[in-house]
């Protein structure tokens, strides 16, 4: 049951609208209830072939030999695709926005880094014949020690999962092995807090489980083009990723999608389109590559698991005065999007509360696990679990009502957030008040009267003095800003010569939102800029 509380924030809204705010029927509902909504797999193409992949049985191994001789002779097989057949067999998704290094092959060549990694693709007349040929491919592995725990992966001597990142951590700003957040002096505040509580939290890896599995159908079209029916939830991400992997102009491809049987983040990774198109290119026939359910569950990318340590200082009166967080994202064997989530997670600290001293270290860690990817609430869901369990424990510790404890610490308009931007348009307090009302949870009068629009700012708007890390890593020269849309000609070296590193910048303390003239600034997306 849903109730619209039009009475709250009414003075900030114009509700005199025609179409907005109406519960209009979905444009696609008639299609859904008649079964005529057209998903990628609802296209019947003449002479369609079927693609299946041979997946690694090992979590971490060197590939000594791949023997496809018997599979090639298997009935109905049209084409066997190996890593060497993939034009650009190394990619990372966010290379499209020039973030991170290419670290993942479409088909493994010399090494497998997770159980289920694709090694060989088989294109055959029928699914059955593709399965029969898959069973005939022999892969000779030399097993390597594997690492599955994020903290084990950071220990000295841990197996190197992905040689692109030999320390088993994603590299930020070409230097840093994690994303930092520094706001005030958390250690000093912890030393003077009435109570200190340190806890460990663990998120689980989670399958998106859309009822439609990942898949694509690619078919040769007229004039040398390829039409691709796809379940992607990221159309141009997929178009441009295919253009890069297949080394073709992006307008060679005509992608058609937009009606997808659930995604939740699990259809961003462009898992099936490149091989389906390559299959169509190599056979001249339509090719379908669709995940089975077990493939989707075990080898489709999950929501990555995060391990989170929180150390909080709280005063007897209920004010949280310091929050120190260490978080490890389990990226699995390749980067995909976890590097990005870690930055989003750092920005989310310390949750929707005004805490004067915040310290965060967020790592993106490689393990011999199915690569993780985005999922609903990416980078935040696990942190919210940790923070809100922690808030409950803190309220218990100081013997406060957990609702009132949250209102007391809630951020309000005008407060300075830990990522050094002013809080605006906040509404946490009102949500707590209304939820309390709904649940018939008694709040004391002063907490019922609290408002996101009152009592913020002032001393709460100040960026506190923030000590610099003693062992600060020295940033290197800027990488040239490049995206897939202004790719350099292939003759130009991809690694521009490096200048000597400039001295580390002083800890900035600008006014909120003020431009930092002359300061060296960094972007996690586009590298460094001036």
């Amino acid at each position: 049951m849903l109730e619209l509380r039009k009475d709250i924030f009414a003075d900030e809204r114009d509700d005199n609208l025609n179409e907005i705010g109406k519960g209009t029927q979905r444009q696609d509902m008639l299609g859904h209830v008649t079964g005529t909504s057209s998903y990628f797999n609802d296209h019947k193409l003449q002479g369609m072939l079927h693609l299946k992949v041979v997946r690694s049985t090992q979590a971490h191994a060197r590939i000594r030999r791949i023997d496809t001789a018997e599979a090639e002779r298997s009935a109905g097989v049209r084409r066997i695709i190996r890593g060497t057949d993939v034009p650009v067999n190394l990619n990372t998704l966010l290379s499209l926005i020039n973030f991170g290094k290419d670290d993942e092959p479409s088909l493994a060549v010399d090494k497998v880094r997770y159980k289920g990694e694709p090694i060989v693709a088989i294109v055959a007349d029928s699914e059955r014949e593709a399965f029969e040929a898959v069973a005939k491919v022999k892969v000779d592995y030399e097993p390597l020690a594997a690492v599955f725990d994020v903290e084990d992966a950071l220990k000295p001597g841990a197996p190197v999962v992905n040689e692109t990142y030999p320390k088993n951590t994603f590299t930020y700003h070409e230097t840093y092995d994690h994303q930092k957040l520094r706001f005030g002096d958390a250690d000093a505040a912890l030393a003077t807090a009435d109570h200190v509580l340190e806890q460990r939290y663990q998120m689980s890896p989670i399958e998106h489980a859309p009822t439609e599995t990942n898949g694509a159908i690619a078919a040769p079209d007229t004039n040398g083009r390829y039409v691709v029916y796809t379940s992607t939830q990221a159309l141009f991400f997929s178009v441009d990723t295919c253009a890069k992997i297949l080394d073709m102009p992006s307008n060679t491809f005509h992608f058609i999608g937009g009606t997808v049987g659930g995604g939740f983040g699990g259809k961003v990774d462009t898992l099936t389109e490149p091989l389906a198109i390559l299959g169509a290119m190599l056979t001249g026939r339509p090719v379908r590559y669709v995940f089975g359910r077990e493939e989707e569950m075990q080898y489709g990318p999950p929501r990555g698991a995060e391990r989170i340590y929180i150390k909080d200082g709280v005063m007897r009166d209920g004010r949280v005065v310091a929050r120190k967080i260490r978080c490890y994202f389990d990226s699995g064997a390749y980067t995909r999007l976890s590097s990005y989530a870690a930055v989003k997670c750092a920005a989310h600290l310390p949750g929707p509360y005004t805490i004067p001293n915040v310290y965060g270290d967020v790592y993106c860690v490689f393990t011999n696990r199915t690569p993780a990817t985005a999922m609903r609430g990416f980078g935040v869901t696990a942190m919210d679990f940790a923070i809100e369990c922690q808030m409950d424990k803190l309220a218990h510790l100081v013997n406060m009502d957990p609702m009132e404890f949250r209102i007391l610490n809630a951020y309000r308009d005008g407060d300075m957030k830990a990522h050094r931007r002013e809080a605006k348009n906040t509404a946490l307090i009102e949500c707590v008040q209304v939820a309390a009302e709904k649940a018939k949870w008694p709040l004391r009068e002063e907490f019922k009267r609290a408002s996101s629009r009152k009592d913020g700012g002032g001393s709460r708007a100040v960026i506190p003095p923030t000590p610099a890390d003693s062992s600060r890593a020295r940033p290197t020269a800027p990488a040239q800003q490049r995206t897939s849309y202004d790719r350099l000609p292939p003759t130009v070296t991809r690694e521009p010569p490096r200048e000597p590193p400039p001295p580390a910048p002083p800890p900035p303390s600008p006014r909120p939102g003020a431009p930092a003239h002359g300061a060296t600034r960094f972007s996690s997306v586009f590298g460094r800029r001036r």
Partner: protein, 272 residues
């Protein structure tokens, strides 16, 4: 190569085809064999079917009931005289699976499936099988212990004696998901009462060992006693004895051992 489908008029012909071809699997309701084919199990090259009326016969009129191996759970549920088997039949799958899955196939379903078989084990059922050399009856316990070696034989039917009263037999499947979920553990108890005392107690458990097994220690705790709180408590504390539960996606061996007694107690004392 496409799969070859061989359809026979009689069960014995089908059994012959099955025993002479190692790549052949018998197609009952499809929930096991068709799934295997869909998932690319290339060890199956031949699918054997039989259109023998005997396989779908239900004989529920007398004290001993017989269910053809091809009887679906939906048909068990539709048969008023099989009321004692309705709880186990209803615990299988959703409605579509109950319209397809068969009593015979359930005997071969690996964990976390095979719940109906737990009930049959508690009821001391007999399994009629047709091998290459003719038909024979096997006690269900023996059948399950040798299940891996039964691949070349065809189950024709199962039969068991109807419980003396509706109170004498009870069944419960513990699942995480409601109303349809895989078994964490499954329990069935047949406790005939004679002169106020339990005589011939049989307790069967699913997911407490690689195949469905009897909880013999719990049976001993019940045998010859009246079904009171103390007896139930004794049976509950002995429930895990002799079992060999495992870890799977639905629960760990530790958890199964911890809760089997709790659920046996609740089952026998009629608690939710």
């Amino acid at each position: 190569m496409p799969v070859t489908v061989k359809t026979f008029a009689s069960a014995s012909e089908a059994a012959g085809a099955l025993s002479s071809d190692r790549t052949a699997r018998y197609l009952g309701g499809g929930t096991l064999v068709m799934r295997a084919l869909n998932e690319g199990d290339v060890s199956i090259s031949t699918v054997v079917r039989a259109q023998d009326q005997a396989l779908t016969r239900i004989d529920a009129s007398g004290p001993r009931i017989t269910l053809g191996a091809g009887v679906t759970f939906a048909r068990v549920l539709a048969e008023r005289d099989l009321g004692f088997l309705h709880a186990p039949a209803r615990s299988i799958g959703g409605p579509a699976v109950r319209n397809m899955g068969t009593v015979g196939g359930n005997l071969f379903a690996p964990t976390p499936y095979g719940d109906f078989t737990v009930a049959l084990l508690a009821l001391d059922a007999t399994v009629a099988v047709q091998g290459g050399f003719g038909a024979r009856d096997i006690p269900i316990e023996e059948f399950l212990q040798a299940r891996e070696r039964q691949a070349g034989t065809l189950v024709l039917s199962v039969s068991c004696t109807r419980p003396a009263s509706s109170e004498a037999f009870c069944y419960r499947k513990i699942a995480r998901i409601k109303p349809k979920g895989g078994s964490v553990i499954t329990l069935a108890a047949h406790l005939p009462i004679s002169g106020g005392r339990i005589a011939g107690a049989r307790i069967a458990l699913g997911s407490m060992a690689p195949t469905q097994i009897r909880a013999r220690a719990a049976e001993r705790a019940l045998e010859g006693r009246s079904l009171d709180a103390a007896t139930i408590a004794a049976a509950a504390s002995a429930a895990a004895e002799g079992t060999s539960p495992f870890d799977n996606a639905l629960g760990s061996a530790w958890y199964r051992r911890e809760i089997v007694g709790v659920h046996l107690r609740r089952l026998l004392s009629g608690q939710e």
